[in-house]
Amino acid sequence: MKTLLQSVIAAAGVYVLARFVTSALSPRGSSASIAEQMAAQHTTQFLNNLDEIASH
């Protein structure tokens, strides 16, 4: 019983802490919906970075 309880506490602890760290840093509503909306607009930006690096 103690083993199970420890496992549940550890799982909840990792989930909550890990999620908290990233959600605290991310802007509100930054998950899939906004990312999807902006993907079409900004898809080329990453590739532009590659070109920029390759040209140096």
Binding site: G13, V14, A32, A35, A39, H42
Partner: protein
Amino acid sequence: MKTALLFLLKFVATVLAADFVAGTVHWLEDAYVREDTPIIGKYVARPNIVHHHYPRYMVRHNWWQTSFDLVLMSVAMVIGAWFAGLLSWEVWLFAILSANANEFHKWEHRTRKENGPAISFLQDIRILQTAKHHARHHTDPKNSHYCTITNFLNPVLDGMNFWNGLEWALAKTVGLNRREDTSIRGHGPGPTWLAEYRR
């Protein structure tokens, strides 16, 4: 003063350790996990192949979709450390960073606007890896810069040919050869199922 310095050193060492382990997992996935690898092939190789062909595809995923496998591994590690009596703040920090390694990676593929001011600031001051640094991993021949949490380890590991050396040793000793990366120019065109991600 000495205590504060020791804490700082332990903190930095833990961050770098998490970066190194995440980089090692990333290297193993890129180099050796194939689509037909038993059990994990479908869940690891496929997303990996998609990511190298379409790096921005991953930004459509939410936190859980991006991180569930690393969260589960981190939970297992914390449980193991707890039962072994080794649970400390360093283990917690390592677990939290490791659980989020792919989320940090995703941020390197997002625009500054998508990331917002807090993440962009942490990238600007080099606490988190920058998009420009990670772009080198996606530049042919795509066999370097595997660590995705900070900018600090990659120059050291790639400078000493760490990953290439491991690959050479594995090929010479057990005949394990690196998987073909079809996203490299001239190595394509890649599997036909990739077409469904081309949108």
